[in-house]
């Protein structure tokens, strides 16, 4: 059980997150959707300590962290139980695809090199890139880079896999290969929290959708509830706008 209670974050006087609470059950794929500037990416980054939240209680399995006083040990504990897929992939450029995956296995998880490599090869085949093990990121397409990024994040076997706009930097024709990889993960029972502004991706993979606006959660529901029976006016307006813009 993963639970976030009353997450708050401000930059100076600008309140980005105004007390956000939600939970994620094991094996669930929760998608946070919202316009840019709604605070959804900041939320995700707070959970991984790439941003320091002001307050909130985060429970992740047997680890509980009060964001207003975080110890180094808590920070490490949470980071070890989560991993992140980035919008711009953030692969290590001077390492091959395989080394991108084994780096943390060998140096963080202290796995034997041979074991790390065989796990990495298995993950590469899961994301359909067995033949790219020795390629450097520069030789790969955006979609391939993102699939390596996903394999790298999966390798550390996180209790919660975080994805920040995983398809937003991709050319339209490359989105499918990444979203089908994510869908496969969702079906295999990974617990994931995904941030996106792409409605199609959200409907495709979510077990639950959280709609955010201006730093607060407006509405939560299954893709069907969300799309066909929205309760809130702001959700209806959001959906109407997306339909107008052809995003559905």
């Amino acid at each position: 059980m993963i639970e976030m209670k009353d997450l708050k974050k401000s930059y100076g006087t600008a309140e980005i997150l105004k007390g956000v609470s939600f939970d994620i059950k094991e094996g669930e794929t929760v998608v946070i959707i919202g316009k840019s500037g709604s605070g959804k990416t900041t939320l995700l980054r707070c959970l991984n300590f790439l941003e320091q939240a002001d307050s909130g209680i985060f429970t992740l399995g047997d680890t509980q962290v009060d964001f207003s006083h975080v110890t180094r040990a808590q920070k490490n504990a949470v980071r070890k139980k989560t991993s992140m897929v980035f919008q711009s992939y953030n692969l290590f450029y001077n390492l091959t695809a395989l080394q991108n995956i084994t780096e943390a296995l060998i140096h963080t998880k202290k796995m034997k090199k041979a074991d790390a490599q065989s796990l990495a090869r298995q993950l590469l085949s899961e994301v359909g890139l067995s033949d790219k093990a020795d390629s450097y990121p520069k030789m790969l397409s955006g979609g391939q880079k993102q699939r390596i990024g996903i394999a790298r994040a999966m390798a550390v076997n996180p209790e919660l896999l975080l994805m920040d706009e995983p398809t937003s930097a991709l050319d339209p024709e490359l989105i499918d290969e990444v979203s089908s990889t994510i869908k496969k993960l969702a079906n295999s029972g990974r617990t994931m929290l995904i941030v996106t502004h792409e409605m199609r991706l959200a409907l495709d993979i979510a077990s639950r959708i959280i709609f955010m606006e201006n730093g607060s959660i407006v509405e939560t529901g299954t893709p069907d509830q969300f799309l066909n029976h929205p309760q809130q006016e702001r959700t209806k307006a959001f959906l109407a706008r997306i339909r107008r813009e052809g995003g559905l």
Partner: protein, 231 residues
């Protein structure tokens, strides 16, 4: 072949005589480059400290060194360092000029290298840092496996320029009496009462030029091969 303006034979004759001193010049420059790189890395490390006093002092130091003509720095080191050392009771009367050359050149070159390395370091794609953090990668692994190699590649073209600069500038060590390739050209010219001055110095020019060309070529080739390691 003979004409009153340019003696081609003397021009060709100068090459072997000058080239015999090229290894000495290159060896000296190599020592300077190795020492200066170590010192430059130290400077960058201090320069990037969070401590504003330390990084400010280093910044000022680098600015100061970069603002001094190398010949002047060489004289200051050559005439000033013995006095400084004497205050600590170290007698420098028997020390050859070469160590002073190495000290002065290392001070100067390292300041320029520090700026090049810092710029390269700061231009590394920051997303990789976040990836390392999110994977709890130990900072030593991240530093040595990812930051150092990429900084090296990013800095390589500018470091190549500094290598060529160092070789060219090494010519001023003759001013404190070191027999390098430039001083060899001067003595060779003097041996013939300056009759073949132009021929000899033109030969010297071709040698410097050839070395610069070779280094340029080698660095460009290495850089091209390493481009795959950076965005």
């Amino acid at each position: 072949m003979s004409n009153p303006y340019f003696d081609f034979g003397a021009f060709l004759d100068a090459f072997p005589k000058l080239l015999s001193l090229l290894p000495y010049t290159l060896f000296t420059v190599c020592i300077i480059l190795i020492l200066s790189l170590v010192f430059a890395v130290l400077l960058v490390w201090l320069r990037l400290r969070k401590n504003k006093v330390v990084s400010g002092i280093i910044r000022l130091y680098i600015m100061m060194i970069r603002g001094i003509p190398l010949m002047l720095l060489l004289f200051v080191v050559y005439y000033g360092l013995p006095i400084l050392l004497q205050l600590w009771g170290i007698n420098t009367a028997n020390i050859q000029p070469l160590p002073f050359v190495i000290v002065a050149f290392t001070l100067s070159t390292s300041a320029f290298e520090a700026e090049v390395i810092r710029a390269a370091y700061e231009s590394i794609d920051q997303g990789q840092m976040e990836a390392a953090q999110s994977l709890s990668l130990p900072s030593a692994s991240f530093f040595f496996h990812i930051l150092v190699p990429q900084t090296f590649v990013l800095a390589l073209p500018n470091l190549g320029n500094l290598i060529i600069t160092a070789i060219k500038q090494s010519s001023i060590m003759y001013t404190i009496g070191v027999m390098d390739i430039y001083q060899k050209a001067r003595t060779l010219s003097a041996d013939h009462f300056g009759v073949w001055q132009l021929e000899i110095f033109l030969a010297l020019m071709f040698i410097y030029w050839g070395v610069a060309l070779l280094i340029d070529f080698a660095i460009a080739k290495l850089y091209k091969r390493m481009l795959i390691y950076i965005p």
